[in-house]
């Protein structure tokens, strides 16, 4: 763009058309990558539809809630009289941020869906939602969770969008497939993603003896932690099959 002073008094309609045409030409000649960067900026002004964003939030919250054995619903004014203390709720505002709250607990977590001009990568957004939810758990609740109720395999290893800080960076976990049980072993297939620009991913197949699994998810996470870190800090394109059948 030129820095010449604009003389509004002598500007003609033709000048405006010419300027517009030049601008179009200049933009058309930009490298494709640069054009797409502009599109992303425009998208942040006119972002993905609210309905689309809500669907995405829902898709991210579902696996987390399944893992944690909680039910979360979208806050509705009409339902206020029916909510019970501690109930998990979330809301989405028109700036594409998610607020997660516990009813009448006086605490909430706000997670932005956008960063600068771009939409947050799905996994990073999922990880932030997961951390927000984790922060809203109460200590005594964790004790309650350690009760004797029969938990699903997912609840015993709540991995969805959980972050792992390894020496080579932060990794985000999610289920590759649903955990299954066969021959007295539970099979966990977990995918880890690092640095969303690099798109580096690693897969971990864990076979854990049913008896080796605690009803306490924290203990199970501690059990697998060394194997996870070993995998994440290992060779760039390695995957791992680990048998924890003899433990315990």
């Amino acid at each position: 763009m030129k820095d010449e002073a604009v003389d509004l008094a002598h500007m003609r309609v033709e000048d405006l058309f010419e300027a517009k045409s030049k601008r179009r030409e200049r933009l058309s000649n930009l490298p494709f990558e640069e054009k797409i960067r502009i599109v992303k900026k425009l998208q942040s002004v006119y972002p993905l539809t609210q309905v689309g964003f809500l669907t995405l939030v829902n898709d991210l919250l579902v696996p987390i809630c399944l893992d944690l054995g909680i039910h979360m619903s979208r806050r509705s004014g009409a339902m206020f009289p029916h909510y019970v203390r501690g109930q998990w709720l979330y809301d989405v505002d028109n700036r594409h941020a998610v607020t997660i709250m516990r009813w009448l607990f006086g605490r909430e977590e706000r997670v932005e869906g956008w960063q600068e001009s771009d939409f947050k990568p799905r996994l990073a957004f999922g990880a932030e939602l997961r951390m927000g939810i984790d922060r809203l758990f109460l200590n005594n609740e964790k004790v309650a969770q350690n009760g004797f109720s029969q938990k699903s395999w997912r609840e015993k290893l709540p991995i969805s969008f959980r972050t792992f800080d390894a020496a080579n960076g932060r990794w985000i976990a999610e289920w590759l497939t649903e955990p299954t049980e066969a021959d007295c072993k539970v099979h966990f297939d977990i995918r880890f993603n690092r640095d969303l620009e690099e798109k580096l991913e690693k897969l971990l197949h864990l076979q854990v003896s049913v008896t080796a699994l605690s009803n306490d998810p924290v203990k199970n996470l501690l059990l697998i932690q060394p194997f996870v870190i070993e995998l994440l800090e290992g060779l760039e394109n390695s995957n791992s099959v680990t048998d924890l059948g003899k433990i315990r």
Partner: protein
């Protein structure tokens, strides 16, 4: 967007799709100035997604494959990273040609296929919405379109009437 292209190329390598080319708004932006668009239209040969003798179209194998990779369906597409990607099985022979004769371009370090300006203009003409017509005009004005090649596509794929109507509307040579 490079991640999307990498996923598309992986689908190709894994034979989930037989071929593909990017059309629609993103292809238009390749030739024109950038404007706001939310999705990436990926045209795929219908033969890839036909099921059974009657040729019913099913995108289920594509969606299942992408779900395995962690990409969830949303609205009428699949969200891959921060893009809504729509897979459009071809339903006109002209679209099949648009894929087979697509341009090989690079985005970042990754190669992809994109409609030629002529096939894009023909597809927009066929589609025929007002905004599509405006893009055809912009493409013609941009000098990216070889008019002879465009006319050849129009004649071969029975788009002559649409072209005449369009040319009359925008005061162009029929």
């Amino acid at each position: 967007m490079e991640r999307v292209i990498q996923v598309l190329n992986r689908m190709l390598a894994d034979r989930v799709i037989e071929n593909y080319a990017i059309g629609g708004g993103i292809a238009a932006i390749y030739y024109l100035e950038p404007y706001q668009t939310d999705d990436i239209d990926v045209f795929i040969p219908a033969v890839t997604v036909s099921v059974g003798e009657v040729g019913l179209i099913s995108l289920e194998p594509i969606y299942s494959y992408l779900k395995e990779l962690g990409f969830t369906p949303l609205k009428e597409g699949v969200v891959i990273e921060d893009w809504l990607v729509q897979f459009i099985p071809t339903f006109e022979p002209m679209q099949d040609e648009a894929i087979s004769k697509s341009r090989r371009i690079k985005f970042g370090d990754t190669e992809t296929n994109i409609f030629t300006a002529e096939h894009l203009a023909a597809e927009l003409l066929r589609s025929g919405r007002r905004k599509d017509h405006l893009r055809v005009i912009a493409l013609l004005e941009s000098n990216h379109v070889n008019v002879q090649q465009l006319r050849s596509i129009i004649n071969r794929y029975n788009l002559t009437e649409k072209w005449k109507k369009f040319a009359r509307q925008f005061d162009l040579e029929e």
